[in-house]
Amino acid sequence: MTFEWIQVPYALATLFIILNYGLLMTAVVRKLAARVGGRPGIPVWQNYIDLVKNFALRSKINHGVMYYLGPVFRLSGGIGLILFVPTIYGSSWAQNFSFAGDLVLALYFIFFGTLGMALGAGESGHPHSAIGVSRGLAQVTTAELPMALAVYSLAIQYQTLSITEIVAAQQGGLFNWTLFTNPLAVVAAMFAFVGTMMRSPFDVVLAPQEIPIGPPTEYHSAYLALMQTNRAIFPIAKTIIYMNLFFGGAANWAEFAIKVFLLYMIPAVIGVVHPRFRVEQSIRFFLKWGLPVGILAILTV
């Protein structure tokens, strides 16, 4: 695929849509969770106000270069993921910078933010951050393991590492989705999905009752605003990958919105009604359930 300048504004437009979608949708999900508890919860536009508020704070404390770069890396992880993942299949402009090996790059970007965060949070000097980071790295590594295996399985199945091609292969009906063609890989990948969305039972990284609130403990003001922006973009971007790889992608924005929402709701539904695992319990969980399924997916493909 050749590079064209027009892709830049197209990609930015996609980014913009996804940012807003993310801000609104995370609020809606929070409202749904709140309703289970019996309350209305935050207004849907609350995320915007919080974002503005954090940018509007007057004072900032900097703990060093990496501290500053942490949120930047994190955000670039999210944005990078978006930029290299085709959002709408067949759309002329929402293709972003997808290319033949974009799946590998996407996997890299998923991890990139976490690493950046680790560096930044580590420099903030707060022990809770440090503990959170070490927990995060340990857990995300094991949680991504089934994902990596599932992707491997997929690569074998579809004989490509291009997301667009994988999506294309799933077109033409519900039963062409990877969900049905390679269910074991999907199960393995969903382990990873649930495990990395920072919701119970796999949210020991943030665990407010233990290490409030983990890595971002020291982050505030604009730094926090950057992370909030990322928090709106990154999960959506990640969900898009899963959608593209396993659930047939989206051919238009409506399908996109519905599929992402439903996918996003999976960890939310689990999270609301479960306490969290300890870090070694969740690692054990992924090694015990996720890893074998992933291996099985490769073997049975």
């Binding site: 289970v36 119970s200 009752q209 009604v273 479960h274 306490p275």
Partner: protein, 392 residues
């Protein structure tokens, strides 16, 4: 399979005096403060943890953040003036202070509260116990990341607070049990409204059973964690549900019946495992007992009768020299007031024996070493301690 065996070679060795030799400057250990500003801590206190990896090697409880010097302030106040401040000793379950203090004063002054007041006090205490358990069931879920229980239980507690409000005139500090009796009678239609609350509570408790007690993740986190050896109960002064979770069926309501508990019908709940899960289930069963008791009391209590015994003019009430100790089974164990009078209009000394005092200090410090950082909060919540009654 996949069993973790932590590498304990790095851990500090005990020195000649039995204490761990922890040299923070080696960089092997990390000091971690949980609290006072920390969501995982029950109230305003702190635990100073020394961790090695994810494992805690030493824990020290620090209290005093809520110290108001109650026992000193009480010595400065007349017997009636002590009445409004006692309830502040324990915020989530204040009524026990009122009862114990009132009963202690009555004992030394030779006053007998009327029968209606005795029933009313029992009702208030059970309502308070219910509320306290609501805090616990919400808290234990919250400590493990299951925030939804806290939402429901606080809601149910709010409903009960409404009943408190219409009965006593206040939400949190009821100040209803005066030395000599209680301040008023049941309002019109109270039984019906209480029944609604209890029904709602039972519905939500059924949800709690589904989402918490039958939740496999919850079980994984709590079973076998934070076990108190029943042999430690006596040396560490463990009472109440914490002891009952270890199979010790001791409940002052049964063993040393006070108020009208001898006219009520109930069973003492126990469990055997003495771990966090057992402590939670014992309390879950106790909530049901409380609900049943409230229903029984409302059915059996006299409809009318004097609420107050005749007491001397409180502005210059003097009580002859003496000392007494009044105890009761609160939601956390044995609660007691030790009152010493010297014949003047002021108490000579009041000592509050809160169960949290032993549970959160000596016992917690004994239990913490060897646990995972993640379990500290749950362990603490499972002991059900309220800091204000530790430091008073």
């Amino acid at each position: 399979m996949f069993s973790f065996k932590p590498d304990r070679s790095q851990y500090p060795a005990p020195g000649p005096d039995g204490k761990l030799q922890i040299d923070l400057e080696t960089g092997k250990y990390l000091k971690l403060w949980q609290g006072p500003n920390h969501p995982g801590i029950t109230g305003n206190m702190s635990v100073e943890l020394t961790v090695c990896g994810d494992e805690v090697v030493e824990g020290k409880t620090h209290v005093g953040y809520l110290h108001r010097g109650f026992e000193k302030l009480m010595e400065r106040r007349t017997f009636i003036q002590v009445f409004p401040i006692v309830c502040r000793v324990c915020v989530p379950e204040p009524d026990f202070n009122e009862y114990c203090y009132a009963a202690a004063v009555e004992d030394l002054a030779g006053i007998e509260a009327p029968e209606y007041a005795q029933w009313m006090r029992t009702l208030i205490l059970e309502m308070g116990r219910f509320n306290s358990y609501m805090m616990f069931l919400g808290g234990i879920g919250g400590a493990l990341g299951l925030g939804i229980t806290g939402q429901w239980m606080t809601y149910v507690r709010d409903l009960m607070l409404d009943r408190f409000e219409e009965l006593t005139g206040a939400r949190i500090y009821h100040m209803f049990i005066l030395p000599g009796g209680v301040r008023g009678h049941l309002p019109e239609g109270f039984e019906g409204r209480m029944e609604e609350v209890l029904d709602t509570a039972e519905r939500y408790l059924a949800d709690i059973d589904r989402v918490m007690f039958s939740n496999s993740v919850f079980k994984t986190r709590t079973k076998g964690v934070g076990v108190i050896d029943p042999a430690l109960f006596e040396p560490y002064g463990v009472t109440g549900p914490n002891a009952r979770a270890g199979g010790v069926a001791k409940d002052l309501r049964k063993d040393s019946p006070y108020l009208v508990y001898d006219q009520l019908d109930f069973e003492v709940a126990t469990a055997t495992d003495s771990d966090i899960f057992a402590r939670a289930t014992v309390r879950r069963a106790d909530v049901q007992t409380s609900i049943d008791l409230i229903r029984q009391i409302l059915k059996k209590m006299p409809k009318t009768g004097p609420a107050m015994a005749k007491i001397p003019n409180v502005l210059h009430w003097k009580i002859p020299r003496g000392e007494t100790y009044i105890k009761g089974e609160c939601s956390r164990g044995e609660y007691g007031y030790y009152l010493v009078t010297d014949g003047t209009g002021y108490p000579r000394r009041i000592n509050v024996r809160g169960p949290s005092y032993t549970h959160a200090m000596a016992l917690l410090e004994h239990l913490i070493p060897g646990t995972n950082i993640s379990d500290v909060a749950a362990l603490m919540v499972s002991l059900h301690t309220y800091p204000p009654e530790i430091e008073r």
